[in-house]
């Protein structure tokens, strides 16, 4: 608590002498300059408008405080009686108009540049869903999802919070430096907003529609952002992490990813005929459940009454197995339950369903194997 108090006092003093203090401690008080040409232009525009406002503020508030100090009854002044001055009134209508015009010109130029997504080098489809991002490289055979990596123990105070608390993911998006990267942004459920402050890119992910944005990052590095549009319970827990690599490194990385995904798919086909033991299923199932399902259905399977259904002792997890597989694989239309067919492997699907049917005292004893999922999907088609 003492540390907190000192930090609080430090922050207070930082506020009073704002700019100088912010250089000493890493307390950020202003917009980031960012790492792209566009983000620098946006920053300059921000400072331009800020200084114009500051100047107007000094003049207007200066006149007002001068009045408050000098034109007070206690000084024995006699009030003037003027109440109109057409010339002055025309002047302070026209001058602001001209100032606004001066702001509008650079703003227009920057906006037109930001909106020009043509001639991109690579494209990434960014899909938001409650509460994760899914990245798919259109030119490569690579896609994966990106989930917050901060453990719940840190959020609920059982472990100390680490440096990138809430701003870390299991699998960041990787992009090449010096290339125009186009983002195609959409959503599977509610509206999300994909935001990386250092790129000055923020675009809403609207379900059923695709938005475009782009960036060209010059410096390799790790850049962090968050979902910016309220998207339900875990809106705060949906970070964006982007790693920018030199083009050669990027190329090596993405080829490696393609290879990895290919072998994983082959492995999956091979494993279809293999039976997993209950322990294996439960272990993988618990892992998958905590990463994918616990945000809504809660770690104890109780759900949130009236919002997210419970799974412990009620519903599909203790009912018909095929119906259970159906809802996990295909989702439930008209609810927050999404389809996991494309986000999870068949082993993971089998494991998580087995886990749900046997955890929290459900104890149905049912085991679902990857082959069962495979048959179900085949039968569906």
């Amino acid at each position: 608590m003492n540390v907190r108090l000192t930090r609080l006092l430090l922050a207070l003093s930082a506020l009073s002498v704002s700019a100088t203090a912010s250089a000493e401690q890493s307390l950020q008080l202003n917009l980031t300059r960012g790492v792209t040409n566009i983000s620098n232009k946006v920053y300059d525009l921000h400072m331009l408008v800020f200084y114009i406002c500051l100047a107007i503020g000094v003049i207007v508030f200066g006149a007002m405080f001068w009045s408050i100090l000098r034109h007070r009854k206690s000084r024995g002044v006699k009030p003037a009686t003027f109440h109109d001055n057409v010339k002055v009134e025309i002047a302070w209508t026209i001058i602001p108009f001209l100032i606004l015009f001066a702001m509008a010109v650079p703003a227009t130029i920057t906006l037109i540049k930001m909106d020009d997504t043509s001639d991109s080098d690579i494209s990434v489809l960014v899909t938001g869903s409650q509460w994760r991002w899914h990245y798919s490289y259109l030119e490569y055979d690579v896609e994966y999802q990106s989930i917050m990596a901060t453990p719940r123990e840190q959020i609920y105070g059982r472990l100390p919070q680490t440096e990138n608390y809430l701003l870390e993911v299991d699998r960041p998006l990787v992009i090449p430096t010096g290339k125009k990267v186009r983002f195609l942004i959409t959503s599977d459920d509610v509206i999300h907003s994909w935001w990386v402050p250092e790129f000055a890119v923020k675009k809403d992910a609207n379900p059923g529609y695709i938005n475009e944005a782009w960036t060209r990052v010059d410096e390799p590095g790790i850049y962090r952002g968050q979902c910016a549009e309220l998207c339900g319970r875990d809106h705060a827990f949906m970070p964006v992490v982007v790693i920018a690599k030199e083009p050669a490194d990027f190329e090596a990385w993405i080829r490696g990813e393609e290879e990895r995904l290919r072998t994983a798919r082959e492995e999956e086909q091979r494993l279809l005929s293999m039976q997993m033991s209950m322990d294996e299923l439960m272990e993988l199932g618990q892992q998958t459940y905590m990463a994918q399902c616990a945000a809504c259905h809660q770690p104890n399977g109780q759900g949130i009454p009236g919002v997210f259904p419970g799974l412990a002792g009620v519903g599909v997890s203790v009912g018909d197995q095929q119906a259970h597989i159906d809802v996990v694989v295909n989702g439930a239309r008209g609810t927050a339950m999404q389809a996991y067919r494309n986000t999870l492997s068949m082993r993971e699907l089998a494991a998580v369903i087995t886990y749900e049917r046997n955890a929290w005292g459900n104890n149905t004893g049912d085991m679902v194997q990857a082959a069962d999922i495979h048959h179900f999907i085949q039968g569906n088609q």
Binding site: A11, V42, K73, D84, L230
Partner: protein, 533 residues
């Protein structure tokens, strides 16, 4: 406005003889008297101010430190939603309607509002609307948790059943507002005293006149959009669902077509209040009365052409973004005219600093700061960085709390002696002002920084670099919240008639018909209209 000369001695004789009304609860249930209804609106709004405020304190308590300590994220979302809904529809709007009810008839020399029975109804459906809204806390899944802006599909497919109650109570609030607005327009158009031409009306009447037209124009849009949410959720329509040929962004267009005029509904009457108070305590006529009227009308007109500046990140065509950016920047011109006029009114006046004046001066400065951040937000390319961060939260709290709410406080301190007949406790009122002024800035000013540094709004937990400023903001929040209890004490003392009897005109420089009747204002005023020369 410059030459209000009144001939009211005949009107005075008529006072006090018609003071017949039922006693007890029946007086308040069945009243058609504009003063009773105004009083009820004002008390209702004060209660809602504390209800919504306690939700804000819950939000600030959770945000004091990083990590989840007090509430569940889902409940946090209920708090932000209900805080917004209650403050907008329960606190600020009813306060302005209450002021309109009390003051407009007295300012234009009318005996009452034009449609007194409708007036009764428009008030009495309000408490039920909020009972319905608040009862949703006891439903499974709790109250609405999709933000006061209730964006689809979070409010349709993905919401709990409290949405139905939300929609129903929104309908009732909308009806109440529309009826209130009709009443104001009919009263002003038909019941002005002889000689009170439009350009002699006090600015509070003018700003409310324009506000009422805004209300009538946009409340039906709100009613439409909540109905579409209801049918999307329960009756299989797909207005906002792409899978059925709809568009979730359509929701935002409809909502903000209501929502932007709505924010001016919450600030135009403030302009009227401040334009009454500053000349009174500067002892100098309002500078540029006519330009004030035209500026108000210009702001109201422009408010219909700027709605999509709330939606720059939704992916609009560049041309549309540019149009809405230019229109939004234009609003700075008439708003600037108003601020310049207020400062010119003070210029070479003979100012004194009674509590209403203090709140009005704070209003001018802090509202203008909110205006500056408004100009910054208008610049589309930079708005991409500000949008949905605490910078926006700072901006709209500057214009709504230190703007609209401060002006309502100023109005209360200006007219309380007229309403209650007693002079309030000056020491307490000044204490309230200074506590509010200091704490409101500790509360909202640092939000600018944390927003620029990249903290999104509507999150119950945040990254570590935002921790220090959030702690300061939370301290400011609690200080501001508890400072308002001083205001409650002042109001209760006045209601209990504890204090020196107030003269008919307690402020030396005050102008207007309301000061020609005794304090407290008799139950019926201006049965015989005054003559304005």
């Amino acid at each position: 406005m410059s030459t209000i000369v009144t001939d009211t001695h005949s009107a005075h004789d008529a006072h006090d003889h018609h003071d017949h009304h039922p006693k007890g609860i029946k007086r308040w249930l069945f009243t058609t008297n504009h003063k009773d209804i105004g009083t009820m609106y004002l008390w209702f709004s004060l209660i809602m101010f504390f209800v919504g405020g306690s939700m804000a304190l819950m939000i600030r308590a959770e945000l004091f430190q990083p990590g989840m300590q007090i509430v569940d994220p889902h409940f946090f979302n209920q708090m932000t939603t209900m805080h917004g809904v209650i403050m907008v529809f329960g606190a600020v709007m009813p306060a302005f309607v209450g002021l309109a009810n009390w003051m407009i008839p007295m300012m234009i020399g009318a005996p009452d509002m034009a449609l007194p029975r409708m007036n009764n109804w428009s008030f009495w459906i309000l408490p039920f609307a909020f009972l319905i809204m608040l009862s949703s806390f006891f439903m499974p899944g709790g109250a609405p948790a999709f933000g006061w802006t209730f964006y689809a599909p979070l409010s349709t497919t993905y919401s709990t059943d409290s949405t139905a109650l939300f929609v129903f109570s929104m309908h009732i609030m909308g009806m109440s507002s529309i009826m209130g607005a009709i009443n104001v327009i009919v009263t002003i158009m038909n019941m002005r005293a002889p000689g009170m031409s439009y350009m002699k009306m006090p600015l509070f009447v003018w700003t409310w006149f324009i506000t009422a037209f805004l209300l009538i124009a946009v409340m039906p849009v709100l009613a439409g959009v909540v109905t579409m949410v209801l049918t999307d959720k329960y009756f299989g329509t797909a207005f906002f669902d792409a899978a059925g040929g709809g568009d979730p962004v359509l929701f935002q267009h409809l909502f903000w077509f209501f929502g932007h005029p709505e924010v001016y509904i919450m600030i135009l009457p403030s302009f009227g209040i401040v334009s009454a108070i500053i000349p009174a305590f500067a002892r100098k006529p309002l500078f540029g009365y006519a330009s004030m009227v035209y500026a108000t009308a210009a702001i109201a007109g422009l408010s219909f052409l700027v709605w999509a500046h709330h939606m720059f990140t939704t992916g609009m065509p560049t041309f549309a973004s540019l149009f809405f950016m230019y229109m939004t920047m234009l609003i700075a011109v008439p708003t600037g005219v108003k601020v310049f006029n207020w400062v010119s009114t003070m210029w070479r006046g003979a100012m004194t600093f009674e509590t209403p004046m203090l709140f009005s001066l704070a209003f001018v400065v802090l509202f203008t700061i909110g205006g500056f951040s408004g100009i910054m937000l208008a610049i589309t390319p930079v708005d991409y960085q500000y949008h949905d961060t605490y910078f926006v939260v700072a901006h709209f709290h500057y214009v709504l709390v230190s703007g609209a709410v401060f002006s309502i406080m100023a109005a209360a301190y200006y007219w309380l002696p007229k309403w209650s007949g007693v002079m309030y406790d000056t020491f307490l009122s000044k204490l309230h002002f200074w506590c509010s002024l200091i704490s409101v800035n500790i509360l909202f000013f640092p939000m600018h920084f944390v927003g620029l540094a990249g903290m999104p709004r509507r999150i119950p937990d945040y990254a570590l670099q935002f921790a220090d400023i959030n702690a300061i903001v939370s301290v400011g929040g609690f200080l501001f919240g508890f400072s308002q209890l001083i205001f409650l004490a002042v109001c209760i003392k006045c209601a209990l008639k504890k204090g020196e009897p107030a003269p008919a005109k307690p402020w030396e420089g005050a102008e207007g018909l309301e000061w020609t009747v005794p304090s407290p204002a008799p139950y019926h005023t201006f049965d015989v209209p005054p003559v304005i020369k």
